[in-house]
């Protein structure tokens, strides 16, 4: 494009302070040959989401193993940003993830991190295409710990334990917690598969949290006399479709 190169904006996510120091020092060393600026750093997923929503970055250096939320899940949430950054993962050793990174040509750095490798990865990052959410989904075999929504320029995390039910409505899925509703853009089938241990399908368009079920009732409107589910803290009754009636027996 232009001959004047803009400084690469880099953001660091790692729960360990010395590891962040190390990266900052190495980035400083890279700076002589590759114009870059460290726009911020975060010690955990939530902090990274908050800061990156305000100060966008081109490249995010992401530690895989962190408390609360691992780096790959964080990357999935960060993909919801208007301009998703390029991710470079850092790890001491995660055999499964490394194999997947290689398969999808996603850059990763092994700790202890070497200057040369970091430099190469950053040089590539400028031309790299941001990863697709689908690829990240493959990288993370376990279920996420949070759902995320993009709302007024910020990304909100909803802990999966807080979700009472998820219902498909037109284009979106309504996610209901005890406090409020959120709209997310995902497929109900994929959600059902990902959170199979936590949710049960009661209707073609609805998954409810098993833990939240407090009881079943007979009844319903418009002549339908099927079963309904009562959920903890909700007045609304959720209808169980005829095909899913068997779950009443399974639960009671």
């Amino acid at each position: 494009m232009t001959t004047i190169e803009l400084a690469l904006r880099v953001f660091i996510v790692d729960d360990e302070t010395p590891a962040r120091n190390r990266l900052r020092e190495l980035l400083d060393d890279c700076n002589e040959q590759l114009p870059l600026v460290v726009v911020g750093e975060a010690a955990n997923g939530q902090e990274a989401l908050d800061k990156l929503a305000e100060t966008p970055a081109d490249v995010v250096l992401l530690d895989i193993r962190m408390p609360q939320m691992d780096g790959i899940e964080l990357a999935r949430h960060l993909c919801k940003l208007l301009r998703p950054p390029v991710f470079i993962f850092t790890t001491a050793y995660d055999a499964y993830a490394i194999k997947a990174f290689e398969l999808h040509a996603i850059d990763y750095l092994l700790k202890p991190i070497r200057l040369g490798r970091l430099f190469d990865a950053l040089s590539r990052a400028r031309n790299a295409v941001p990863v697709q959410t689908e690829v990240l989904r493959e990288l993370l075999p376990e279920a996420r710990k949070h759902l995320s929504i993009h709302e007024r320029g910020k990304i909100h995390l909803i802990p999966i334990e807080a979700v009472l039910f998820m219902r498909a409505e037109l284009k979106y899925i309504t996610v209901r917690t005890a406090e409020r509703e959120y709209l997310i853009e995902e497929s109900l089938t994929a959600l059902e598969k990902e959170f199979a241990t936590r949710f049960v399908r009661i209707h073609r368009n609805c998954l409810v949290a098993k833990d939240a079920i407090v009881g079943f009732e007979r009844g319903g409107e418009e002549g339908e006399s099927g079963w309904q589910v009562r959920l903890k803290g909700l007045d609304e009754r959720m209808a169980i479709s005829r095909r899913q009636q068997y779950i009443v027996k399974e639960f009671s």
Partner: protein
């Protein structure tokens, strides 16, 4: 450091069981009564006769076993000094001598028909005592061998924990992260790391001074604190702990490692590990507690292996006199260990491994 070396052994030699240990005493009583039961089964002609036989045998056997235990308990220090082979011989001689003594003292009770050959009676009494005594000693030897594998294992496990990539590479990375800004701290960290490796590679030994184990644990914690910063803190409470107290090697450090690895590390705010070591009369109490995540259901496999190893070693060294308990709450985890207070014997320990459980 010299003291540590002097109580170190290349490998654990066979040793006589500690006859003053409650667990050993119980095992001997149980096993000898089990043999009595077998004999009663062989001799019995019916249910009622079986009971009668059983009672008869036990009534005759118990005075001998109890007095033998008393004698062996008294002779213990002397037996240990003899070494294993001669110790076994001495134990056999003293037990059969005692059995003969009780046999003749018991008079009619033991020899209802006096017309039997006296020579045969003596031979029978002695050979039965020797057989019983040797059988029991053999059992204790096999048991000790089985359990002593767990001692080697403890070192292997600790070594494995040191070279676990998560620990090794992250720690090196952390040291690299402070080497420019705080070179002194980086030096200490590398020294701590070297000590931890050395300890893991050391020859199998069983007991060390409490202070040494505490120091090793503190070096380990310092390394983890380098990585985790304020998220990890440890509250040390060492109360009334005598300088000469000995505890099994690598008992405390693996417990702390569990607390870090399965507790503090997965908490975003971190937490504080509570360590308490206390002498309470003739026992030492060790308690390690830590907060842990509520959602993270079942304990780790690695966790189970480390705890199993500690249990086996306690059982090898102290039998029933040590206890071990895990208390798992919704958001905390606590291990409580009670073991006998074993003093370091400053002049005795060079001789053999047998001195190691002297109290």
């Amino acid at each position: 450091m010299n003291e540590a070396r002097s109580i170190k052994q290349n490998s654990l030699p066979d040793a006589l069981p500690n006859f003053r240990n409650l667990g050993v005493t119980l095992r001997i009583l149980l096993l000898s009564n089990a043999i009595a039961l077998l004999v009663a089964v062989i001799k019995a002609r019916g249910w009622q006769d079986f009971l009668l036989q059983m009672l008869q045998i036990i009534a005759l056997l118990t005075p001998i076993t109890l007095s033998s235990l008393l004698l062996l308990g008294l002779l213990q220090p002397w037996l240990y000094r003899l070494g294993y082979g001669r110790g076994v011989l001495a134990a056999n001689v003293s037990v059969s001598g005692l059995a003969l003594f009780v046999y003749y003292l018991g008079g009619e009770l033991y020899q209802p028909d006096l017309d039997g050959a006296a020579y045969f009676d003596v031979l029978r009494c002695v050979s039965l005592s020797v057989a019983m005594c040797s059988l029991l000693l053999m059992y204790f030897r096999l048991r000790a061998r089985g359990l002593s594998l767990s001692l080697e294992d403890a070192h292997l496990q600790v070594l494995r924990a040191r070279i676990r990539p998560h620990f090794l590479f992250n720690t090196i990375n952390a040291v690299l992260g402070i080497v420019r800004a705080e070179p002194k701290r980086a030096e200490t960290a590398l020294e701590d790391m070297a000590d931890l490796f050395r300890m893991a590679m050391a020859e199998a030994q069983d007991l060390v001074l409490v202070q040494q184990e505490i120091q090793l644990s503190q070096q380990y914690i310092a390394l983890e604190q380098l990585r985790m910063g304020d998220r990890l803190s440890v509250d040390w409470q060492v109360l009334d702990m005598p300088d000469d107290a000995l505890i099994p090697v690598l008992l405390l450090q693996p417990l702390l490692e569990n607390a870090v690895y399965h507790g503090i590390e997965s908490l975003i705010e971190g937490g504080c590990i509570q360590v308490m070591l206390r002498r309470n009369g003739g026992t030492l109490q060790i308690r390690v507690g830590n907060p842990c995540p509520t959602a993270g259901g079942e304990p780790h496999l690695g966790n189970k292996i480390a705890l199993k190893n500690i249990r086996e070693r306690l059982s090898l060294l102290f039998d029933a006199e040590a206890s071990y308990q895990v208390i798992r709450g919704a958001d905390y985890y606590r291990v409580e260990i009670t073991l006998p207070y074993v003093k370091e014997k400053r002049h005795d320990h060079n001789r053999t491994g047998f001195a190691r459980l002297h109290r």
